[in-house]
């Protein structure tokens, strides 16, 4: 008889092959893998978005002000300051002060949603207009247009401040869009986050059910007495689920990009790779969680416990920067937060791997953490 090796790839692949065969015979599960993503994406794609506040912006106020020359009571005008202070009291935005160029860099790397430049002659031009001269005061705004809700909120805040300062008219916006100036529809913008949600939902659901089906089938009483180690079993499962995960990622991206026509500004290969990496994170989470589910019902109940808080905290519905500080801290522990940044970065902002190193690293790190926890908690014998 063959000697028992401590680790055998044959056994791992036998497990992988067996699970894939089982799933291929399960028409209902295959249908779920296609229809759940389609339905969720359609619904969320249409309704995602929401009221935004505390959006960080940067103001570069170069306005030197204007002293009205002929006046008896020498009045000094400073519209740049007035608008800035008005914006500061507007809770839709959080105002930072700095140079326009540093603001633009900030918008590009996601620190700010917009940066505003008031020119040196801003007050002067506005005053001269009142004397009948045909001049326009120009405000330069460099804005992140990847989210129409946020864009509209920031612009509305600026408009309001200008209006409260000196009524309507006279100020021209020189709007410049970040990220290539592509204008996005609501669907384009919500799809990256929806991809993250759908991947979490479907991969967790299928993985956790597949795993728990095994541990509750009674087959473990035989498996425990075979050379198959718990580690090999988990690895075999993870491999099978990874293959399924790649398939599910393909379906989701197909629905998002081909059927809904979402825009991908960056590399499709990177998007696919990132999506598979995030799928793997969820597979390992499922492997870990399945160690604690006594039956399929418990397993299924675990899925919304993960997806609902992830939806709320990942910034999918409302930007994370608008949360209270302590909630923002929690958000940084939500894997979907990094997935959303990754998907939005690649799809809307055209980021390459260079801009997303930390997101990729963190997602990979969490995936490894979950697998380690799974290996540490897996049962390799009957309960004592």
């Amino acid at each position: 008889m063959n000697k028992t090796k401590k680790f055998s790839l044959t056994r791992v692949i036998a497990v992988t092959w067996r699970i894939l065969t089982q799933i291929s015979r399960d028409k209902r599960t295959i249908a779920q893998m296609i229809f759940i993503p389609a339905i969720i994406m359609l619904i969320f794609g249409l309704v995602a978005g929401g009221a935004a506040k505390n959006l960080p912006i940067l103001i570069d106020n170069q306005d030197i002000g204007y002293n009205i020359p002929s006046a008896q009571n020498s009045t000094s005008l400073h519209f740049g300051n007035s608008i800035s202070s008005s914006l500061q009291s507007d809770n839709r935005v959080t105002v930072n002060v700095g140079s326009f160029n540093s603001g633009k860099i900030g918008v590009d790397n996601g620190t700010y949603y917009a940066t505003i430049l008031f020119p040196a002659n801003f007050s002067k031009v506005l005053f001269l207009r009142t004397t009948g001269q045909d001049l326009n005061a120009s405000v330069t705004i460099y804005i992140d247009g990847t989210n129409p809700t946020i864009q509209a909120t920031v612009l509305a805040a600026i408009q309001n401040s200008i209006q409260t300062t000196f009524g309507s008219g006279g100020v021209v916006f020189d709007q410049q869009f970040a990220f290539g100036g592509v204008e996005f529809t609501g669907l384009d913008v919500s799809i990256p986050a929806v991809i993250g949600l759908v991947l979490t939902q479907i991969v967790l659901l299928i993985s956790i059910i597949t795993l728990v089906k095994e541990t509750t089938s009674g087959v473990m009483s035989r498996l425990y007495a075979t050379p198959l180690s718990a580690f090999e079993r988990l690895l075999g499962f993870s491999l099978a689920l990874l293959i399924l995960g790649i398939g599910m990622t393909g379906v989701i991206l197909f629905i998002g990009l081909v059927i809904f026509g979402a825009i991908v500004q960056g590399s499709f290969i990177l998007l696919f790779f990132g999506a598979v990496l995030f799928a793997l994170l969820n597979i390992f989470l499922a492997v870990f969680l399945s160690n604690f589910a006594k039956n399929e019902l418990q397993a299924v109940q675990m899925v919304p416990l993960i997806t609902l808080p992830s939806m709320a905290l990942s910034g999918m519905l409302i930007p994370v920067s608008t949360f209270p500080d302590w909630v923002q801290t929690i958000a940084h522990f939500i894997p979907m937060y990094y997935a959303n940044r990754m998907f939005e970065g690649i799809m809307l902002k055209g980021y390459g791997i260079g801009n997303l190193t930390s997101e990729f690293t963190i997602i990979a790190g969490i995936a490894i953490l979950f697998f380690t926890l799974a290996v540490l908690t897996v049962k390799d014998r009957m309960p004592d």
Partner: protein, 262 residues
Amino acid sequence: MSLDGATLSNLSTLTNEPVIETSNLVKIYKEGAIKAVDNLNLKIGRGEIYALIGANGSGKTTTISMLTGSLFPTSGEIKVLGQQIPKKRRIVSTRIGVAPQEYALYTDLTVEQNIWFFAKLYSMQHELFLKKLDELLPILRLNERRKTTISNLSGGMKRRVSIACALVHQPEIVFFDEATVGIDPVLRAFFWDYFRTLSKTGLTIVLTSHVMDEAERANRIGLMRAGKLVEEGTPQEIKQRNSATSIEQVFIKLSSGTVADE
């Protein structure tokens, strides 16, 4: 201890060196703190057909689970094929086969796929697997059912697939936990012929049963009650000692009033 005499006389019936040995084996489950197995001393020789009988909850399945290394004992020692269990269970696992009480099969796979999967876990060569499959399936009357999904089989058929999965890798010891339940008497008689043929080639068979006529076909019987071995010997010896005409009489006499929950 009353068992000593029996144990001594049984030693002479061992065809060969012991392949299973337990000493003072105890299992107390954490949940409920039940003493499922209480100071069990077993010695089973190579090529023996050994039947563990007893009422529900008498500790038969717990004993089998500990012998296969699937369940860790609370105290006591187990040696299977000369190796410490559970410490060396992975090494021993290639040389033993198990047909658990539940079918323990993948119900959404076919007969062949199930046997293939377990053969793979034992790193069996594919040619050898095919050869073994051609040998096992006709004997177990499953040849026509090769491509049938387990969920479409009757209870008795599932039982036979379970036996096939336990035998495919040519183990030296096989454990059948209630493995012939649900199999009709004609086929069961046929199985026993097959078991005897296998045991002559050196295969040790340890089985549990409620069916007393089945137990009588074993070389030796161990009767368990509340986790203890209360009687052990060849069917003949046991009947004589208890002045009974059948094992069933002995069983009723010795396990009366001990029927616990399943």
